[in-house]
């Protein structure tokens, strides 16, 4: 969607995913030594899922950044 030079929605998607991914990843790292009381906590899902979100977010930001 390029009418009126609107920033593409994908840029905002990337921004939100990158911010959320970083928050979740760091939260997962901070709880590495004292895991929450959830099933499969030993898999450290917040760390790798947050990292995936951050990477996807950064890719979207770079690919759709306002010119």
């Amino acid at each position: 969607m390029e009418k009126h030079h609107i920033i593409p929605v994908w840029f905002f998607v990337g921004l939100l995913l990158a911010i959320y991914g970083a928050l979740i990843c760091f939260s997962g790292i901070s709880e590495y030594s004292h895991l929450p009381n959830t099933v499969l906590a030993e898999l450290h899902a917040p760390v790798w899922w947050g990292a995936i979100m951050t990477v996807v977010g950064v890719v979207y930001i770079v690919a759709n950044r306002p010119k």
Partner: protein, 564 residues
């Protein structure tokens, strides 16, 4: 003792707060681009196929659906996936390949707009008034459901949730119109997938894969089959739904799903905002791939729940008298219970934000749809035909506010009378099932007349309402209308839709043959045989919508075989 399911940490609250700031900020950023009527109501008709396609799917993928269908999956097993497969894919493909040319060429802004061009003001008026009513009702239902779910999950005050969500939605829809609604639906799409996809990943790890999950389900529920989609549909009594395959194929696949995906204004509006014909055709085709994958995050969690949480109780309506207060959990709690099972701080916040996003996008979508239908199909048509574009944009902004206030009123009404929720699904069935044959006949048969279209639509609606109340108050009629006294609620809905659609067709055809049709010139752009379909630009073999439509249908067929 906790009276709510989830306790949020600081990072969870930060994630939720960032979402509210983001959507309002995006809405105000988009305000400068939404000054004309075309921009405010139709997002400038500049959406790419991907944006239109994702928002098309997202407009339907609300949190009420996420929670409700995960619960339905817990209750009925993989049969619930039919509402995402045969209940959506053929209809979405049909919309894109067959119907979009007529919707797009006539440059209509809405489905009632098409009906006015094709059949005249009577059919359009009936459709517009029913759409306006339903969108306000659904916006209010979403509002109430979100507040209720947040109270159960998080212990949030129900009134605060209603007002905070309403003000937030109001701010960004009044500011940016359909641009805002679509942008936030695309955001919601990503949030829901990233928030929910981890559930089946962790669930299948815990159960030891699909086979391990099935083994656990069979151990928890011996003698019941929850994991076959077709093989138990040979007889009404062989499956948890009390359904026969004819109801799934003809009632759900042919009538209800076609009616919803091809004529529901909320979803069709997103495709009408596409920037050209090819994008308009491609958008629902692209959406079909994502729709087919939704059972991963909705149905599979319900099945995982059967494996790891076998003691959930009969479903409650979403209302103040939640099952949680009785010390039990209802089927509708399966998704949040699974979230709490696997998600710690951070991921919980993401999951809750995804649910909030789903609810608010549902409110925004319905509110923006109400604004368009009221402004163009009711106000402009019946009250003020010759006002300026700026006047209609102003009307659109004001009626968004009025629509939200009415939605808040509806939310409180639903709070006071929880059984209204039972009627919401029925209301859709009353108006949607007959609308599809009315629109389709109009697009494919030149001989259909204005009188035929209006009376066919009216007959379909009246017969649908009649069948609903007959089955409700005369239970012996269920065996006749739904073909079996074992037919459950969803099965009855399917047959009600099927008969209402057929009645609509018969009345439309008979009345049309007895009345005067329009000339070919008057039907230009509206019906097959009187419309020159413009040639699509040459985008190569893999750029053609029909090619991807065939790929989608092939994957759909494969899924039916795999989960037979």
């Amino acid at each position: 003792m906790n009276d709510h399911l989830i306790a949020l940490s600081g990072v969870d609250m930060a994630i939720i707060a960032i979402y509210f700031v983001a959507v309002v900020g995006i809405g105000f950023y988009l305000k400068r681009f939404a000054e004309s009527g075309e921009d405010f109501f139709m997002a400038g008709r500049e959406m790419t196929a991907w944006v239109a396609g994702l928002s098309f799917v997202s407009a339907n993928l609300g949190s009420l659906e996420l929670l409700g269908w995960a619960g339905a999956s817990y209750q009925y097993g993989i049969l619930a996936a039919h509402w995402y497969w045969i209940g959506a894919i053929p209809a979405m493909i049909f919309l894109g390949i067959v119907m979009m040319p007529f919707y797009y060429i006539c440059k209509t802004h809405s489905v009632p707009g098409y009906l006015e061009l094709r059949y005249g003001p009577a059919a359009s008026g009936l459709s517009a008034i029913s759409f306006a009513f339903m969108t306000i009702l659904m916006s209010g239902v979403n509002m109430f459901a979100m507040a209720s779910v947040m109270r159960v999950l998080l212990g949030w005050n129900i009134h605060l949730s209603i007002w905070v969500s309403s003000v937030t939605v109001g701010l960004y829809v009044v500011a940016g119109g359909l641009f805002s609604a679509i942008f936030n639906e695309v955001l919601q799409f990503f949030l829901i997938w990233f928030g929910a996809l981890l559930i089946p990943v962790l669930g299948l790890i815990e159960t030891g894969g699909w086979d391990g999950m099935v083994a656990r389900i069979q151990k928890n529920f011996p003698g019941q089959d929850f994991t076959h989609a077709w093989s138990t549909l040979g007889h009404f009594g062989d499956n948890p739904m009390g359904m026969h395959w004819t109801g799934i194929v003809f009632g759900l696949g042919a009538m209800l799903s076609m009616g919803y995906w091809t004529t529901d204004f909320l979803v069709v509006q997103r495709v009408l905002s596409a920037k050209d014909m090819r994008s308009a055709k491609m958008a629902p085709v692209l959406g079909s791939f994502f729709k087919m994958a939704v059972p991963l995050i909705v149905i599979l969690p319900g099945l995982i729940g059967l494996a790891v949480l076998p003691s959930l109780a009969m479903p409650h309506p979403l209302g103040p008298e939640s099952a949680l207060l009785a010390g039990q959990h209802s089927y509708n709690d399966v998704l949040p219970l699974i979230m709490v099972r696997y998600f710690g701080p951070g991921l919980l916040g993401l999951g809750v934000t995804a649910l909030i996003a789903g609810f608010m996008a549902g409110m925004a979508g319905n509110t923006s749809a109400f604004g368009t239908v009221w402004t163009y199909d009711i106000y402009r048509h019946f009250f003020n035909k010759n006002a300026s574009d700026a006047h209609y944009v102003s009307m659109g902004r004001w009626c968004t506010i009025v629509g939200l206030v009415l939605s808040i009123g509806t939310a409180y009404l639903v709070m006071g009378f929880a059984s209204i929720m039972d009627y919401v699904q029925a209301l859709f069935g009353f108006f949607i099932a007959p609308l599809f044959p009315t629109v389709l006949i109009g697009m494919l048969w030149k001989r259909a007349t204005g009188a035929g279209g209006f009376l066919g639509l009216l007959a379909g609606v009246v017969s649908s309402v009649s069948m609903f109340f007959t089955m409700k108050y005369v239970p012996s009629s269920i065996a006749i209308i739904a073909l079996s006294d074992k037919a459950q609620g969803l099965a009855r809905d399917m047959y009600q839709a099927l008969w209402a659609g057929l009645i609509c067709v018969v009345v439309t055809v008979v009345v049309s043959l007895m009345t005067q049709p329009k000339s070919d010139k008057e039907l230009e752009g509206l019906v097959y045989g009187a419309t020159a379909i413009p040639k699509e630009e040459d985008t190569g073999f893999w750029g053609k919508p029909i090619v991807w439509a065939c790929v989608s249908l092939a994957i759909f067929a494969l899924l039916q075989v795999i989960f037979w």
